[in-house]
């Protein structure tokens, strides 16, 4: 039956079911990942953000929700300028965190033979 409106795809994330291995792998190398308070200072100061949608805060959030593909796509917009590192109130070296994450993605791609 046609009602003229439809169900939207659910955006619910079941944290009991998502794969957090990438987040844990990154946290093992970059323990500071766990002290991020998601204030968004990194996103606010990001030069690439208005043009590419890059946001370190969102990258971390995506990893916490097991959304690896979305995080990888967002990372491709980063220019590694390091402004986010300068403004982080928790003193997280976000630039290094991004590099470590890219390294993990690279290793993972090799492991999967891509």
């Amino acid at each position: 039956m046609e009602f003229g409106f439809k169900l939207s795809p659910s955006s619910a994330v079941n944290l009991d079911q998502v794969d957090l291995s990438l987040y844990e792998r990154l946290a093992a190398i970059e323990p500071d990942l766990r002290i991020c308070m998601a204030c968004g200072s990194c996103s606010a100061t990001c030069t690439a953000a208005p043009f590419t949608g890059m946001s370190v805060r969102k990258v971390i959030l995506d990893l916490q929700r097991g959304k690896e593909k979305e995080a990888a796509k967002m990372l491709s917009g980063c220019m590694l300028c390091g402004k986010c590192t300068m403004v982080c109130p928790r003193g997280i070296n976000t630039r290094h965190l991004i590099l470590s994450l890219c390294r993990i993605y690279g290793t993972k791609a090799k492991e999967e033979g891509k």
């Binding site: 039956m1 009602f3 409106f5 439809k6 169900l7 939207s8 659910s10 619910a12």
Partner: protein, 356 residues
């Protein structure tokens, strides 16, 4: 925790609800959706509990539905509400009880606004006088009708014929409670249990023998959201909200849902049909849905009223499996008979949602 300390903290979440002498105002939409609910409220409070509940046909909508749809300004709503208070004053009452959650929230919001901005109250008094030569006193107590049923839940249980218990197993029935957003989310101190522990419905469920189900999206909106439904282009959003709630409560296998808002039972009931038609999914057992009741309907069932006199035939989701579980007698052939025993016509049956 020390028991006395816990009691002291809990007392801060309580609400003073006077025993008797209430001026009752109906909802503008409930009688179309669940026609016997408000009738059952007056029946229970007046005839079962012996309370003085006064209502007048002169009262109108509170304007809340238009206000929350962004179609009229707040001053207009305030003047409508001032007229309602004038009717209460003329009738000699001080305790105001509203049947609708949005009305309740609307009254609470207006009284709070007048408290913060007395000059606005003066302006509204002038507007009311110019419009209809009426004057008013503000109500001493404001309550939602579910507050009263909550207050007298013990008496209802004591006088009841049935309990919310599976007659075969003796286990309490698993009930989901859904409280309207405008009850305590806007003004927490106006609701029993506040916004953190609203227990107006869970108190009824427990008093009547049922078991309250806690589930992740328990405090999520039913999906009505006024503009989300009234604007047709947004209706998918309303449906998706309700879908989210059902997906969240499904693993807990609820036997029924109880609500205290005009919109919530309507959308939780009707959207089950739409979800079933669009996705083929049903949330009850054996292809049925989860029946949704207003608290007056459930109180009526507990007290032993005939399910068809409670208007349960107008629900989209079949209520018969729930009635069978408790052991409430009903005549299936009388389901679509009116008060004069004439046939009121049968609705067409849905494709995917099992109904009688």
């Amino acid at each position: 925790m020390i028991y006395q300390g816990k009691q002291k903290i809990w007392s801060e979440y309580q609400k003073e609800i006077p025993d008797d002498h209430w001026y009752y105002v109906r909802s503008c939409i409930r009688q179309n959706f669940f026609p016997a609910s408000e009738r059952m409220f007056t029946e229970i409070t007046r005839n079962v509990l012996g309370k003085d509940i006064y209502e007048t046909p002169s009262h109108t909508t509170c304007g809340g539905i238009a206000y929350h749809c962004d179609t009229i300004p707040q001053e207009t709503v305030m003047t409508i509400v001032a007229r309602q208070f004038a009717l209460m004053t003329e009738a000699g009452y001080e305790n105001y009880v509203a049947s609708c959650i949005t009305s309740f929230g609307n009254y609470a919001e207006i009284l709070e606004t007048w408290h913060e901005f007395p000059e606005l109250e003066t302006k509204i008094r002038e507007l009311l006088w110019k419009a209809c030569k009426k004057e008013f006193k503000k109500p001493k107590y404001l309550a939602h009708s579910s507050d009263l049923i909550y207050k007298f839940r013990g008496e209802i249980a004591a006088k009841g014929r049935f309990r919310l218990v599976d007659k075969e197993t003796g286990e309490p029935l698993r009930i989901v409670e859904h409280i309207g957003c405008h009850y305590a989310k806007m003004f927490p101190h106006k609701g029993v249990g506040g916004a953190e522990y609203p227990c107006v419905l869970s108190g009824m469920i427990e008093a009547w023998g049922g078991q309250v189900i806690d589930y992740p999206e328990r405090r999520h909106c039913c999906g009505y959201g006024f503009r989300q439904y009234h604007v047709q282009a947004n209706r998918g959003y309303s449906l998706s909200n309700t879908h989210k709630k059902f997906e969240s409560m499904e693993p807990y296998h609820p036997d029924a849902i109880i609500t205290n808002c005009p919109g919530c039972p309507y959308f939780l009931d009707r959207w089950q049909y739409v979800i079933a038609e669009q996705t083929g999914k049903t949330y009850g057992r054996d292809g049925f849905g989860i029946p949704v009741f207003t608290y007056e309907e459930l109180a009526g069932l507990v007290l032993g009223y005939d399910p068809w006199d409670l208007g349960l035939q107008l629900h989209q989701v079949a209520v018969e499996p729930f009635l069978d579980k408790i052991g409430i007698e009903y005549d299936p052939s009388a389901k679509y008979k009116g008060l004069d025993k004439k046939d009121i016509l049968r609705p067409g049956l849905p494709q995917n949602l099992k109904c009688f």
